[in-house]
């Protein structure tokens, strides 16, 4: 990620500003404000604004319980209780606004999370920069043989280089022609909304994205998961670091009860209880599908021996 001197000085100015406020402040989040965290080769995430902290979650819950904000009840215990029992509305009382720079194919996955607010750079209005995502060679992998929508093994180094060569050459030529099409100087000068159709999906775009903490946790559960595409996971992982500093108690609860949790089907519960009583269980008698059984036994049968 290379910042232009304009961008760098704007960020410096934002970070040097300090005002007095009566609002609740998250000390851990203040340090992140405006700072661009590099993601992938040219992308970044930076926090533009936030509302609330761990205390604000507990305070909102206490409105429901009618016990006032002075209660000595432990915030951490309350927040963990809320997370464990899927009492999600108090988590909606925190909000964060991010500035994200990301490849278009990542943006297309990201935007499927509908309960959020977005202002994206408009390629109808402005000309996109010549910035493309090219994976590191070690991240170029074959199609997975077992997971129809995932990656398998990394390519041999020489093959990875050849793939990169293709990606770079095509991106470069497409962008050259994009410039030829939009340029007004002795060129075609066609509408930007038309010319952009020539740009491949690894070009970078950027947006402001605002979301409440409950919906952000849902995003992170899906996108920081090992089955998520590597490129969006890179953003989700960086976001996890930010959230851990913003609302440390809520984030630990999220890790324990969501990210690191295991959902057992009715059939799995029955099987586990049998196993605890010393009985043997098998796929045939378990009522599970082949794939379910594979997941279940990887987690619990292996553990048994």
């Amino acid at each position: 990620m290379v910042l232009s001197s304009d961008q760098a000085s704007e960020i410096e100015q934002q970070q040097s500003r300090s005002s007095s406020t009566r609002r609740v402040v998250s000390k851990g989040m203040e340090h992140h404000l405006f700072d661009p965290k590099p993601v992938l080769d040219h992308g970044f995430i930076r926090v533009i604004d936030y509302m609330g902290d761990d205390g604000a979650i507990a305070q909102a819950a206490r409105v429901s319980y009618g016990i006032g904000t002075k209660s000595v009840q432990n915030d951490e215990g309350l927040i963990r209780y809320l997370m464990r029992h899927a009492h999600t509305t108090p988590f909606e009382m925190c909000e964060v606004k991010l500035h994200v720079k990301l490849p278009v194919f990542v943006a297309r996955q990201w935007i499927r999370h509908r309960t959020a607010n977005v202002n994206e750079y408009s390629a109808r209005y402005s000309i996109l920069d010549r910035e493309f995502y090219f994976p590191k060679p070690e991240n170029i992998s074959t199609q997975s043989a077992t997971n129809n929508q995932g990656r398998g093994e990394p390519l041999a180094a020489v093959d990875a280089e050849r793939v990169l060569e293709i990606l770079k050459t095509d991106a470069s030529r497409c962008y050259d022609n994009y410039e030829v099409m939009v340029s007004q100087d002795d060129q075609f000068g066609i509408a930007r909304e038309l010319a952009r159709m020539n740009l491949p999906a690894n070009i970078y775009t950027q947006w402001y994205w605002k979301i409440d903490l409950h919906n952000l946790f849902h995003f992170l559960k899906l996108r920081a998961d090992s089955h998520a595409q590597f490129e969006i996971r890179a953003y989700a992982d960086e976001l996890c670091n930010i959230v851990a500093d913003w609302v440390p108690v809520a984030f630990r609860a999220f890790q324990d009860y969501q990210l690191g949790a295991v959902v057992l089907s009715a059939q799995m519960v029955t099987a586990l209880k049998s196993m605890l009583q010393g009985e043997d269980v098998s796929r045939e008698t378990s009522g599970m599908s082949a794939r379910e059984w594979r997941e279940f036994s990887a987690e619990f049968i292996a553990a048994k021996s």
Copy 2:
């Protein structure tokens, strides 16, 4: 539930209508159309319209997979896979529209499910009927000693009757005075939007409510749960019966992977694995709170012995 003769004949007319359509039809749902299922003393649920069936869920998923609707892949296997892996968008492709008559205090819980469409009877525009919910004596219970928002033991029969007497007397007087206030005949004739403020929360209202199947499952998971208030659970249980006939395969998957599922925290997974290896676990070493441990041991320690 007593229907007026007008209502009864309107329902009869709706049910006798039959048209030809090219749309997918759920045979199990057609039988439910327009039929009011009694809930509580004066309430009902009736299906006004629906879109889609089990096949429509699979078909939408196949668009994502690009495998066409002709695929021989088993619908049931696909639907169970979608439910298990929280691939929720295909379930959003089914929709149902209900006519519900319910007490106001139930309506206030119900409306918290925001991703739905609602048209409620307007007490600004029209005069509410004299219909109140009064619980059966055996459903009048004390405040729970262990659950701060639930019920404990049923009252003694004589006390339950006295409570009912209070509820009936107050409802009756409030409604009498509501009539006095709104009536134009030698009475005050005040605006309905004002007079309604005198009506207690057990008066019945009604609405059309439309929701997609994914969000309906979320509603049922929370409201058909044993911790839900008895009165809203009565509606959720009736709805479960309807959904089981509408999309039987999806409903079974919902039962196995949602309603009957158990979520294990990271700490619980660790404890279970220890137990499977024959080790003893205790609350002290488990990292669980007292309440978590109580829930965990009720489910799995009891099972072990």
Copy 3:
């Protein structure tokens, strides 16, 4: 509105707190923070937190236009342009969190605005206070003869007093019996979730309510309108004052292009153009319904003479 000494000291403490932040601050909003603005007889609105200011709206828009935050383009011109052309997403980038105390029948209208976050006082968990809304005598009016869901003329003073007497007596008795039912001291001690059904709709509840500025403007457009019920309008009017201090430029644009705007149907545009050319127009040739014509002529025919 009477605050308990506990509440008063909690508010004083919240207001005396001051922290340093790098976030944007709205000076006009800081003064409102935590301060309860009285609405109706016992209700209030107070701002608990906010995110963004006028500048944040312009900044989000500039991400779309790719012109950077340093642009000399005038914020006010940009914000008015956005409002005029229904470019609503930049307004979603501001957020406000309110604590509201309001009668239940107002809460039932309010909650119909679905794109918001809510934590309401739980009458399953806690006992509601003995606080009811009683209108001022001059606000007790007859049912409107022309508007099926509105108010007409105020009642004669003596009649208004009699209506108030009814409301007060019924509320008092219902609450007495609520206490008898929930009290554990030699009383029935029934579950709060049951006993609350005896409480009329003018009892006060309270909640935290969080919403983005775009959706708040939509709320205000509907609820600060002259056709809204007087009681919810009292809250909307107070909110308008707050928003005017928070984002003064956006609020003026909202007044000019939304609140004070007039929507002309295709038929009205045609009629107006004829009138401007000196032609007479009549309902018969206008294609308008009787009601449309009434509204149109009140606005424009009266103006002509």
Copy 4:
């Protein structure tokens, strides 16, 4: 648009199916079911399912008014009243499910409408077809000189042909290399989720898209507008034809009160009233911005003379 024989026979089969149902049926919509309407060079829209008709809108509104479905009140009058007064919830009671094939850059605009359900073809799971959108020569235009995000004059024919040549050559080479990268036959066989990043934004994708009628009208108001990009407007225009057959009364109301309506700001109303009284108005005294005045005078000053 060329259908494969598989697709053609599947559509034929869907259209030949006929079932009996008790649900309301829209005769005008039944004819459209499953039929692919060509849009752009390879795209289409086809209706997969629908719920409701004009009568269903009126019926839902009558629940609010408590006047029963037997009322003799005129459906058309009621629907026009609802549309005129922005009583939007009854329109949410109708729903439509579409199968749409569209270029990726159109899909990116389309998806910004968040209140809808989507299942898109997954390029992680499947290989995209070699189908790209290329505009007709007469639709290739210069960047607008007055509208920063629109099109100006068409290019000279010879230049348009050269632009098309660029678009076709780049698309073809990018797709060739996409195939080289994903192919398993003696090629790289890299993961599809990676290889797709080489594909330009004019490649076609497809999805199922489901939305309620109120939100569909909002989509059409923005996307059938003359300021919308030509390519998405082509879809919106086709959709208008479908909706006009599905709910003809609601669609006419939408045309009169939304599509063809004009919103006057507070300042414009004042100016118009002055003009009706024979006074001259000027931009200076009107309080309008230059752009507002241009729009206003184009509509109403020109009409006056």
